[in-house]
């Protein structure tokens, strides 16, 4: 496995009015690494993740993702960049309620020129991989939390991302379901070498990762 730096954050700061939420954070994530980001509620984990993934611009500092400097890029450029290189998994799943499971998985492909069959094939393949092959036509409302998160993971993978960002992926799930989801993520990392940055405040979950980064009051402390 080559150990290229896939994500570099350099001297990142984020300020909301007079509140500095992320303070001069620098970190590097190598290709194939599974990194977890832990810290107390409100310490700035989600904010840091949004800076590193290009969902938000830092007040200061730089982000280089897959060799491309994304700080200062326009919203449209960032969207295209996310479409090609980044996958997201959220605590609250964030599925589109009007679309079926497979359509939710295929959502990132909708703006891309390809046939609907191609999109569907790819989505079904991933849903099968998530052991969701039997619920592809259901709407999110008909799925359990764990099932929703499996659909969301399939969606995060549909563009063959270089890196997956996950913000408390088990935060809305009971511990058994959460463990199952963690197992899926861990397997993704181990079997497919997926690079992942996962935010969590549960230390046991963080231990699944190769490396743990701790945050406190907007600063990285390890």
């Amino acid at each position: 496995m080559n150990n290229a730096d896939i994500l570099i954050g350099a001297n990142l700061s984020k300020r909301f009015d007079d509140l500095e939420v992320v303070k001069d954070v620098s970190l590097i994530i190598k290709e194939g690494e599974f990194v977890s980001l832990v810290g107390k509620s409100g310490c700035g984990k989600t904010t840091l993740l949004s800076l590193l993934s290009g969902l938000e611009q830092p007040t200061k500092g730089q982000v280089i993702l897959n060799g491309k400097e994304i700080t200062g890029a326009s919203e449209e450029e960032l969207a295209l960049f996310r479409r090609e290189h980044v996958g997201f998994i959220f605590q609250s799943f964030n599925l589109i309620p009007t679309l079926s499971a497979w359509e939710n998985v295929a959502l990132p492909l909708f703006p891309i020129k390809m046939t609907n069959e191609q999109r569907q094939d790819r989505a079904l393949e991933l849903l099968n991989q998530m052991e969701m092959g039997h619920r592809t036509e259901h709407l999110p409302a008909a799925l359990s939390g764990g099932e929703k998160q499996r659909v969301a993971i399939a969606r995060a993978l549909i563009n063959n991302p270089k890196i997956v960002f996950a913000d408390e992926p088990t935060g809305n799930l009971d511990s058994a379901t959460g463990d199952a989801i963690m197992a899926i993520l861990s397997e993704l990392h181990k079997k497919q070498g997926m690079t992942m940055l996962m935010v969590t405040h549960a230390l046991e979950l963080a231990k699944t990762a190769d490396r743990v980064i701790r945050m406190q009051d907007g600063e990285v402390i390890t």
Binding site: F88, N94, L99
Partner: protein, 412 residues
């Protein structure tokens, strides 16, 4: 564009879609019905003239008389209507010198008062072109039009009132006429409506004046746009005559008929603009409710223009549905209104029966609104609903571009 997603959004949010579609439909229905009804009114008031193929009617009214509600005691037998004194040979010659007139028909209109009541008699030139009262021969219900002296046709209501059938004889001014046919006066044709039509020569001999007497002239223009110009020219050349055209009806009818087509267009556009404004407000409001969805789309890599296309697809779909529903409803309303008969007030000098004679009032007085389908209006309505859709997508797009994908990270 992804029709699957567009369709699902529209179908799953039935209530939302219904409100939007109804909003557009109401605006478009208002636009269509106001314009269709206004156009029908414009057409209705032109009917009295159009039906008889004339643009202008020229008459000479009795100088002193007013159409009083009481019949003068001395009125018995055949006489000239108050508003129709003889047009002299010189008058007719002057009329002929006016350019821009391509056909002219003169008739002699008479009133008869006797024990049997009151009748209007139209003496028509059988050799003249189909214009003015000659036009009525196209409306025969039974029999034929008079061909020679001593023959007459009766208007059906009048004939029924007097229990006369085709083939009977009928006494006019003491002379017996063969009733050779019955005819029905078309709606709104009071400008040439009479109870009895007979050859001009017979009418002239009934009046007992000089041969060649006529008292009403129907003119057809080469170019209808010149009507006003020619009307003033006639008034100038022939002093003391009454010159009427469909405008005279317009002045009398008031209400909707006074609303010019431009004005009704403005009114309907204002109504539509109000509806569009409300729709845009609700659509943008809906979008705010969907900010999470927009955030998800942005997070997974949809660009603003991808999302804009999606929103436009949804909006245009609803605009088209609303537009079609509105056009259908608008015409439905207009046709329903068209079922109501509207009174067409006739300028007194064109009212061929005196105000005190209330017998045998025919359909000539009221007409149905001639509502008709207009391709132009329909296309305009459809274009306006698409424009509304475009405008709504524009404002939604502006709102959407301000939504941040990062917001979804903190939503539960």
């Amino acid at each position: 564009m992804n029709y699957r997603y567009i369709w699902k959004e529209i179908r799953h949010h039935r209530h939302r879609t219904l409100v939007n579609v109804l909003g557009i439909a109401v605006g478009i229905a208002l636009f269509v019905s106001i314009n269709a009804v206004s156009a029908a009114y414009q057409r209705a008031i032109s009917l009295p003239f159009k039906n008889i193929g004339a643009d202008i009617v020229v008459q000479r009214a009795e100088k002193r008389s007013l159409d009083s509600g009481q019949p003068p005691a001395s009125m018995r037998g055949i006489r000239l209507p108050f508003s129709n004194q003889i047009l002299s040979v010189q008058d007719m010659e002057k009329l002929r010198t006016i350019s821009g007139i391509d056909a002219m028909v003169a008739s002699l209109l008479l009133w008869e008062f006797d024990q049997g009541g009151f009748k209007t008699i139209m003496g028509v030139d059988l050799t003249a072109p189909s214009l003015g009262p000659i036009k009525v021969k196209e409306w025969l219900a039974q029999g034929r039009f008079p061909e020679k002296t001593g023959e007459a046709v009766l208007e059906t209501h009048f004939a029924k009132f007097h229990k006369i059938k085709a083939g009977d004889t009928f006494t006019i001014g003491g002379r017996s006429f063969n009733v050779v046919g019955l005819l029905e006066i078309k709606e709104g044709s009071q400008v040439a409506a009479a109870n009895i039509y007979l050859p001009l020569a017979d009418a002239q001999s009934l009046l007992g004046g000089s041969a060649g007497d006529i008292n009403i002239a129907y003119l057809h223009m080469k170019n209808p746009a010149q009507i006003d110009e020619i009307k003033t020219q006639i008034s100038k050349t022939l002093s003391g005559v009454t010159v009427t055209s469909s405008d005279s009806f317009l002045e009398l009818m008031g209400g909707m008929s006074q609303i010019s087509s431009q004005f009704s267009l403005v009114v309907s556009l204002v109504a539509l603009a109000g509806a569009i404004f409300l729709i845009i407000k609700t659509m943008v409001g809906n979008l705010v409710e969907r900010s999470r969805e927009i955030g998800i789309l942005k997070a997974v890599g949809w660009t603003s223009s991808d999302i804009q296309k999606q929103l436009m697809g949804e909006t245009f779909m609803q605009a088209i549905m609303g537009g079609i529903a509105g056009i259908a409803a608008g015409y439905l309303i207009s046709y329903l209104l068209g079922y109501l008969s509207i009174p067409v007030a006739t300028p007194w000098e064109l009212n061929l029966t005196p105000a005190f004679a209330k017998i045998a009032e025919t359909s000539a007085k009221t007409i149905r609104l001639p509502v008709s389908f207009s391709a132009g209006l329909t296309a305009a309505a459809l274009a306006l609903s698409l424009f509304a859709g475009g405008l709504a997508s524009y404002f939604m797009g502006r709102r959407m571009s301000k939504m941040k994908p990062v917001d979804i990270l903190r939503r539960l």
